[in-house]
Amino acid sequence: MIEVENLQKTYHSGFFMRPKKALTDVSFHVPKGVIYGFIGPNGAGKSTTIKLLTGLLRKDSGKILVAGFDPSKVESRKHLGYSPEQPYFYDYLTGRELMRFYGRLNGLDGKPLEDRITWALSLLNADKDWIDRRLRTYSKGMMQRVGIAQAILSKPELLILDEPMSGLDPVGRKDVREAILSLNKEGVTVFYSSHLLSDVETISHRVAMVVGGKIVREGTVDDITSNASAEYHVHVAADIPDADLPQDVKPQGTTPREWVCKNAEARDRFIDFCLKSGLPIERMEHQRPSLEDVLTEEIARAEH
């Protein structure tokens, strides 16, 4: 559904048009019918990539195909729905009027349009009284729901959402998560960026991690987390003086008898140390890292 190869983008800002590379080399492929999470720290290039996919930015070099079309072509946008980060709309319109406006631009009209609006609003749990109020009175969460509802009005094959969960309370996040899953069940490919990594882990089939304008990890959540360095928690039935500890082993919080080994080598060193010192090992836990752990590790690596 989306093919991106060696994508590069540079912004030019200031009086002297100083260049700043936003994307240095981004390549990924989003198969049809998947939920694809796009994660990374602020300024990593997530929104830039999304705007390149929607034709709002022009690439410097590389290849982008959205539903088989170049994003600069109107044809590509017939297949996608997009909701920007913190969506802004014409605040003198009501939510329903806004939906009609965008629906008409998608070629809908009359009863089919009204039916589609009802469907989209109910999917986002936005079919409430407030939908007939002016948008200037909306909270951030209401705006986010309307933003996603307008993106799905045309029943697109591909839904691109930039931070769809931001500004939502837990109920709103659940509603959006369920809407994404429901649309995906109907065959919609969903490409979205998010900072809420627990949500990404829960619903994404595949994930790409972008740091410093480059894709540093790509695959299923299992692929990404299983390749990352795992922590080992070793419980020992006696106190150990800090000074004697092998490298990369630290106590867990204030618990003096639980020790965290950063990797398998540290674990082996610590077990050796315990055996030689006659310290009884009670149990050992292998803790798989979360996406957040992997992302933090990648950010630290990029900074060094």
């Binding site: 705007k51 929607t54 709309f89 014409y90 406006f101 070629g107």
Partner: protein, 267 residues
Amino acid sequence: MQNIKNIGIIALNTFRESVRNKVLYNIVFLAIALAFFSILLGEWSVFDRAHVIKSTTLSIMSLSGLLISVFVGISLVQKEIQGRTVLTLLSKPISRAVFIVGKYLGLLGVIAVHLALLTVVYYVILALTGSNPTLSLLSAVYLIFCEMAIVVAVALLFSTFSSPVLSALFTIGIYMAGRLSNELMEQVNFVRRVGEIEGGQGVVLEKVASVIHAVFPGLYRFDISAYVVHSVALPTHYIFWNSLYALGYIGVFLAIASWWFSRRDFV
């Protein structure tokens, strides 16, 4: 077909947005107040009262149209960009040219309603003062509309790549150049005829005037108030040819605006 429909949808939305602009109402009310003030001017003037009222009101129409084009028109595209509404709009299956033409027609609709309103006021004033309200005055109003249609296209063109303040200055500059280019040429020709320009400097001045005359839209063509006020017949097909002239310039300005806008990044 969908493109034409989308232009209409964007134009209607632009019209709705523009009529909420307080600046627009200030200009409209000021124009109506000045139109009524022309009755007093007619009384005070040493010239024929009807002539003064007619020419003053037509000038007010032209000037208020210019103010609307500049102060409402140039902010239209910038508002979409700064308000970030452009992000959602341009992610829909519409080309950037459709967006530009839709915006243009929306504002042109505002100008048309403004001129229609002033025309009604105009005829009411003429009727009240017994100043012979003939239908031929409508041709002058129509050509003011054509002139404003060009000015709106210029304003829109500048607003696609420059700030509102610069766009306003550029648009007013082109309006002045377009209004005065014929007089400038006449002055240059006159000076040349009386032999006051000799040598290189004169040639350069003449060339600059010729370029301004040839490149900038000759907006002086659309001011026929002297003809209609004094009931002088216009040359044959004058309105038809000048309508085509306006269409030509509008087409060029909108094509450049669309081309430029389609190259823009929306961060």
